[in-house]
Structures are given as C-alpha cells and as structure tokens.
Amino acid sequence: MGIEFRNVNKTYGDNCVVDDLSLTIDDGEFIVLLGPSGCGKTTTLRMLAGLESVTSGDISIDGERVNDVPTQHRDLAMVFQSYALYPHMTIAENIGYPLRVRKLDKPERAARVQRVAAMLEIETLLDRKPRQLSGGERQRVALARAIVREPRAYLMDEPLSNLDARLRVQMRGELKRLQHQLRTTTIYVTHDQAEAMTLASRVAVMKKGRLQQFDAPMNIYNHPVNRFVAEFVGSPSMNFIEGSQLTIGIRPEHIQVLSQPQDGAIPATVYVTEQMGNETFVFLTVGTNRLIARAPADFRAADESRVWITISKDKTHFFDPVSGEKRATDNTDWIRILSVSSAA
C-alpha cells in the first residue's frame, strides 16, 4: 500500500522537469522531497495531487493507479506555500470548506472545525477573515484545513518558507508532533536541508529532475551516494579537496583544529573564525584548499595564525572527480593527495 511513483516523467516541450522518477512510499511515512529550486520536487508533488498531468509513467495511491483521476477524487489534502486561504471566507468557513463540499451536515462540520481549531490553538480566530491574520496564524489555518478530514495523504509545498526563523523552528516541531499523532502519510517539499533532516522518516534528494538518493536522514548525511547529496545536506557544507584521480569529502565536524603540532597533523592557516555562540566555525587554508572546521565554542585563533588539523579518517568520503559518484578507496591514497596539495 502507500504511494508509488513508477518511472514517472514530466516534460514541458523539450524541457524535462522530472526524469524517470521511481519512489515507493509506505503508509504513515513522512517523506521529504529535498533539492534546490528547479529540481522538480514541487512538480512531483503537483503530479501526485493531480494539478499537473504525468507525461509518462504511473502514479498509484493505495494500489490504485491515479494518473487519470481528477484532483478532487484523489482524497488528498495539500498545504500551499502561499497557504491559499479563501480570502472571502471566515477562518471557520475556510477550515470547514473540505467538509462542506463533501456535504457533511452543519453541526458535524462545526464540531470538527472546533476540534482541529482547538488542536492548533486557533479557536479565537474562527470568526476572522484571512487578511486579519499574521503569517504564523495563516499557516495554522492552512494546516487545520488539511487535517480537518482524514485524507489518504498530506502534501505540503514549502509550508514554512514564509515564516520568520523563530516561528519556522517552532512550527517544524509542531508539524512533526502532529504527524506522529495522526500517522498519516505526509509528503513534504522543501529546499531547506534542516527541515528535511528534522522532519523526515526518509528523504528523497532530487537534482535537475532526477532522484539522487532516497534514504533515512542519517543515512543521507553519513553515506551520501554522490557529491551533490553530500554538499546539499549538512550546514556548513561538506569540504571537498580536489585531486586529479579523486575528490575527498570531509564534514566540518570531522576536522579537528589543534594549536600545537602533533604527529600526523597537517599544517594549516586560519583565514577567519566565526563564533556562533555554541561553537566556532574555523575557515582554514590548506595549500590551495579552503576548508571549514567546527571547533568548540571557546576556540580562539587570530587570522593568518598557524594551526594544525587532524582528520577522522573513517569519516571521510570519496567521489569520482568527473561523475561525482561515490567511490571506495584505499585510505593511504588520499593522504598523499592532501599532503601534495598542502605542500603546493
């Protein structure tokens, strides 16, 4: 059961937006489609909703092929980036709209609207119009309209992107909690890797219409299949050291910065340091390479001062310099590359 994309393509003229996408989503999962803008993630979501046609391939929900099922009969709920609240209706009417078109009688409708409003703490707003609400309140109303009935899945298109940073983190937590309570399959589109990491049971990373990797967040983070995924997930981004035969990837937290030389440590120069409060980002120059390292909050070093770094060898990643695909490599090899580039 669940949702399945089988060899799905979407083209506009000669422009291929989604390229041979195959994805199987189990019941009750929280899936995040992650990628930069223009990677086809929103188009994928809209095809599932029936708002875009499928050029070729099949989409099925609970085993039923839905390619030709019109949107209103797919029994999904969607939260739009713009929230898409009906401006001429009150909040109560907005939330009750999906029930109204399903011809539920009025008392039942009112009761269910009241229940979700209480759940999302917006009971006091029910008589207002959307334009009288703040961004965060509108977001809750959009969410309430989605959960007022029990659809087969929730689709969310960057629902938090119009909120300020503090509210976004708060709503992120509430979304996760809500999904744990409701246990309804959720497909969530975002370009924010932090949202993907925190919310998803599995993340589908996309680039230029192609699925790159589909796995649990920690697997994506620890075992990226290619350079794109490695670079896109994690903040600050993974460091890359370019060799002619090999590209080495090291996450900032796997570089240890020392103020004294140590056996096997590589000399480096501090470019600049950024104090984040709970940690310090150290920008380093090693030969011709620029690296970022995560250091403890109390780490201090002047610009241009000499430091030494050690690298957790079992945590490094290797990629093909041409294709960017992950490669398995003997450990001795890359140390040579790094020392060569640092000597230069």
């Binding site: 029936g50 708002l51 209103q72 969607m78 713009s82 898409a84 001429h88 078109v101 399903r102 309209r145």
Partner: protein, 292 residues
C-alpha cells in the same frame, strides 16, 4: 534671516500656486459637468414644459409652470409603459445570458491550456466579431430571424444582444480571472470540490467587482441599443424604448414633450443600478491595476 524670508516667500508662493490649481480644477470640473449634464437638464425641462413654453423664445431656463401632461401622454395614453417593460426584459435577460456564457468561456480561456494555441486564437476570433460596424450584420440577422420566425419578438433581441455583449464579457472576465492566483482554485480542487464548484464558491465571489462592472456595461449597451431593435421589431409587441421614442418623430409633427418624458424615465433604471453597484464598479474598473 535672509534664507528664512526666502523660505517664507517660497511657501507663500507655493500656497498661492496650489490655490490657483485648485481653482482651475474646479473650473474644469464645472465645465465638464455643464457639457455632459446640460442636455439632460434641457430634456428634463422640456418634458415638464407645456408646448407653448417649449417653443418660447428666449426659452424660460429656470422659471416655468411644470406639467406632467407629457408623462401622462406617454405612459398612460400611449404604450410607452410596454416599451419600458420590453426594454427591461431584453436588457436584463441578454445581460444575464452574456454573463453566464461569457464568464464560463473566459474562465476556460484563462485557465485551461487548449491545443493548437487555441487560447489566443479563440480570444482574438471572439474579439474580431466586434471589429466591423454593426450595420454589416443587420441584414443577415434580419433574414435569419425571419426564417426562425422570431421577427417582432423579444427573444430575437435577447439573442442578438447576448451575441453582441459576449465578446466584451469574455475579454473583461478573462483579464479578471488571469489576475487571480491559481493557488486558490487548486486548493479548492484538492479540498474535494469540482471545477464548477470551485468556480462558483471560490473564484466568482472574488471577481464580484469585475462581474458588476461588466454587467453595468452590458446593461447600458442593451438598454440603449437602437439599430437592431429598429430592424428586428416593427410592432408594439417587442418595441424597445429607444425605437418607441424615435417613432414620435413623424411626418407631421415631432412630439418633443412625449419623447423627453419617455427619455427621462429611460435614464432612471440604469442610474439606479449603476449607483447600487457603485462600490464594486470603482474596484472592478481598477482591478488588476494594483495587486491587492
């Protein structure tokens, strides 16, 4: 000190300047009002004057003995009441038909991607029906209505006026629909509503100002139309007010009083409707200009 005096002088100058522009503005307004309302005033006074005063020279502009004899003549003695009713039925029915058909067509053109670039081609084709003078279609329409046995019926006028107003409705409404974010309809569809349901429950309430503005224009066109009404109706059974009024210009006399009385009454319905939808009208005409 010197700069302060200069500032004072400048601000005084500015004040005088703004007073002068304000005065000019009022002069222009009064001139425009006189230009457009003087004929109406002339018509109203003629309708209230006796025939002797109508032709007095110099004309009594403001002081005369008012009489309602022409109104009695028009609406009680003659059939102008029937003409008024016909005009009302034809105008309302043709406006309603044009709005319903035109709105649906405009929505389709604004939202559905038709093959062979039909969106653009159909829109232009619809507009092209308004590009030739009305008289061109008068004879063909007369022959068609004759063969359909619809001459001298209100139905013929309703059909013709609907066709006449359709291009206007389609183009006006297409613009209003295009300005509306798609998200709202898509949300309605995902919420389980049909296309038509989304149109009726979500889209149309949001373009009410546009609908009102379009309706006013259609009503005015249908209400004032003369040519087709003259060609397609010859008997009292389906004569509209404009034709009825013009019919008082006869071989032997021109019934100025009756004509003015009927014309004065003819102004009222459109005036009342336009005033009642005024709040929508202004928004409708400026809709799309500013994203709100």
């Amino acid at each position: 000190m010197r700069t302060r005096t200069r500032e004072k002088y400048q601000s005084a100058n500015k004040l005088a300047h703004s007073k002068a522009t304000a005065l000019l503005r009022y002069v222009a307004l009064v001139a425009a009002l006189l230009f457009s309302l003087a004929p109406v005033y002339w018509m109203l006074t003629i309708s209230l004057k006796t025939e002797v005063e109508q032709f007095a020279s110099p004309p009594p502009w403001f002081v005369f003995t008012p009489t309602l004899e022409h109104y009695y003549d028009a609406f009680v003695a003659r059939g102008f009441g029937d003409y008024l009713l016909t005009s009302a039925i034809v105008a309302v029915a043709s406006t309603a038909c044009a709005l319903i058909i035109g709105t649906l067509a405009a929505y389709a053109l604004a939202r559905f991607e038709l093959p062979w670039r039909l969106n653009r081609r159909l829109s232009l084709w619809i507009l092209s029906t308004r590009m030739f003078p009305a008289i061109v279609t008068a004879v063909p329409l007369f022959l068609m209505m004759r063969d359909l046995r619809l001459l001298n019926t209100r139905a013929s006028l309703i059909i013709v006026y609907t066709g006449f107003n359709l291009p206007f409705v389609v183009w006006m409404m297409r613009g209003f629909f295009a300005d509306l974010p798609r998200d709202l309809e898509e949300a309605a569809l995902v919420d389980g509503d049909s296309r038509l349901g989304a149109l009726v429950r979500v889209v149309l309430p949001l373009v009410t100002p546009g609908l009102a503005a379009t309706a006013v224009f259609c009503l005015i066109v249908s209400w004032n139309e003369f040519l087709f009404a003259l060609v397609l109706t010859q008997t009292d059974a389906a004569m509209t007010l404009p034709v009825g009024i013009a019919g008082r210009v006869t071989q032997y006399e021109i019934k100025w009083g009756v004509m003015s009385a009927a014309a004065s009454v003819a102004i009222i319905p459109i005036l009342v409707f336009a005033l009642s939808v005024q709040k929508y009208l202004v928004r409708g005409l400026s809709m799309g200009a500013v994203k709100g």
